[in-house]
């Protein structure tokens, strides 16, 4: 049972991370960006840390996990809308400023998190420490079923939006011309991204570059602008990367290194290569 739920969790995470990255790339009109680079994951961890700080570790740990998850997700949606909807609107023509702001947000969230962790009683610190690092070996399987239910519902919504997403990715003026409302779409897509990030971060913690690699590879494998194809291919690439990567880590490298470190290393390189390649074109 444990191995089965672990496998299932990896697939849930793969689906959440790849879909949220694809959505964010569509809504920002940029293919070298991902929610985790923009600090979404760090925001989730920060919210959890705040909860522990203000409620106290003792209160926090007796709360039902489900409630914590639901409330954090709701706050996450509100917070990411507040932070990123204005940012996306203002930075329509200045992608670099947008990404840089996101990267600084991520740093800020991480610093505030670590600040709270320091001023929290050292005994309560352990409660959050578990949430601050990506961990594929020790997954919170208690949340798995609810996470799966949320994920499936969200994926269905995204799938039904797939044609609209195609149009949104054409840019603001084209989308308006074709009868879509990009501002409203941005609003909903940000909500969906917040949900996906909550699901994956609750299960395994933040993984910065996974989404970027997965979606970039998916775009190479299936070079099409159509989300009906990209959604599926990126989900598949994501599942293969996570499950295969974890398999390699456990069987071949005998767990000497966490998978997330390898993913961050490879993903950072991929990001730099894409950036430099994009400039030359």
């Amino acid at each position: 049972m444990f191995r089965g739920s672990k496998l299932l969790s990896l697939i849930v995470v793969a689906l959440a991370v790849s879909t949220s990255t694809l959505l964010f790339q569509t809504v920002s009109g940029n293919q070298i960006i991902a929610p985790s680079i923009m600090g979404f994951d760090a925001l989730y961890v920060l919210l959890l840390t705040c909860a522990v700080y203000f409620l106290g570790g003792a209160t926090f740990s007796v709360l039902p996990e489900m409630t914590v998850f639901a409330v954090t997700m709701a706050v996450m949606i509100v917070a990411s809308l507040a932070l990123f909807s204005t940012l996306l609107g203002a930075a329509q023509n200045d992608v670099m400023r947008l990404i840089l702001t996101g990267v600084i947000f991520a740093t800020l969230f991480r610093s505030i998190t670590s600040f709270f962790q320091r001023i929290i009683d050292p005994n309560e610190y352990a409660v959050i420490a578990a949430n601050s690092y990506a961990r594929f070996n020790r997954i919170e399987t208690d949340l798995l079923w609810i996470a799966m239910a949320v994920l499936v519902a969200t994926v269905v919504v995204v799938w039904r939006m797939r044609h609209r997403l195609d149009v949104i990715s054409l840019g603001y003026a084209q989308a308006v011309n074709l009868g879509e409302d990009p501002r409203r779409a941005t609003f909903w897509i940000l909500c969906l991204i917040a949900i996906f990030v909550s699901v994956s971060t609750a299960l395994v913690g933040p993984v910065v570059f996974l989404g970027l690699i997965v979606v970039s590879v998916a775009r190479l494998v299936t070079p099409t602008p159509h989300h009906s194809v990209l959604l599926i291919s990126s989900a598949l690439v994501g599942a293969i990367t996570l499950v295969g990567g974890q398999l390699l880590m456990e069987r071949v490298f005998a767990l000497t290194t966490p998978l997330s470190v390898v993913i961050d290393f490879v993903g950072g390189c991929v990001f730099l290569i894409f950036l430099l390649k994009g400039i030359r074109r």
Binding site: L170, A173, N177, G179, D181, T224, P225
Partner: protein
């Protein structure tokens, strides 16, 4: 009928358009002319609800811009903007196909596919159809965007400097085509043109703008007088009538 009433537009305090009142004649090609910064592109973007006017009212038939459903308008009116950069990596056929989106909302019918092929063919893009936009020249790209607008097949078509990047042959191909679309299918086309002689030769109606205001409206002969041209463009101009149409020599 496109009707613009008391419409003003400003960006951070700077007035771009002030109190525009305009009726666009049905079923003909109307050319918007005027110097840089006159507000021509802005006016088009307001009609196509890409930007929102701060005051006034714009109506397209029974639809009021800003109140009507975006999708209904997308079936009635299309716009070609000057910006033809594209974040997504698309082939020409992909791009043209998106012109049909307001009609089928994701599920293309055989009719849609036929319209797409006609548009591709009409703008000489058959050989380029499966090439990516990033690999095309400026003129080829521009043709692909025009074909997309064409595939959208709306009653009203707004074109912002469609001749950008086009060579003489492609320009000479496009302008009569616009005229025929109006004559044969009853479409109404507004086109921003920089070359006054193209406007004089191919447009039925001219709207001349300067500093965010309409200064003249009418047939090319009425609008393109030596007086008007030299006032609006602030440069000496000689206007002669050739084959019944004015010709501006600068």
């Amino acid at each position: 009928m496109i009707r613009v009433q008391n419409t003003s537009y400003a960006v951070s305090g700077t007035t771009i358009l002030s109190d525009i009142n305009l009726e666009i004649t049905q079923g003909v090609v109307t050319a918007l002319v005027g110097p840089n910064g006159a507000g021509k592109s802005t006016l088009l973007s307001l009609i196509a609800r890409i930007n929102k006017a701060q005051s006034g009212q714009i109506t397209v038939d029974d639809l009021t811009i800003g109140d009507c459903d975006d999708r209904d308008l997308a079936l009635r009116l299309s716009i070609l903007t000057q910006d033809n950069t594209m974040g997504a990596r698309l082939t020409v056929r992909d791009l043209v196909s998106f012109g049909r989106y307001p009609h089928h909302r994701g599920r293309a019918t055989a009719d849609d596919l036929a319209t797409i092929e006609t548009a591709i063919d009409r703008f000489d893009l058959t050989e380029l159809a499966d090439r990516y936009l990033d690999d095309l020249s400026g003129g080829q790209k521009q043709r692909a965007f025009i074909a997309m607008t064409f595939a959208q097949n709306t009653d009203y078509i707004l074109l912002d400097e469609p001749l950008n990047n086009l060579d003489i042959a492609a320009s000479r191909h496009l302008m009569p085509l616009l005229h025929d679309l109006c004559a044969d299918q009853g479409k109404t086309i507004i086109v921003v043109l920089h070359d006054l002689n193209y406007a004089a030769r191919y447009a039925d109606q001219l709207v001349m703008m300067r500093d965010g205001q309409v200064v003249a409206q009418g047939t090319p002969k009425e609008v393109l007088t030596a007086q008007n041209v030299s006032d609006v463009f602030q440069t000496e101009a000689d206007v002669r009538i050739i084959d019944g149409r004015p010709m501006v020599i600068v």
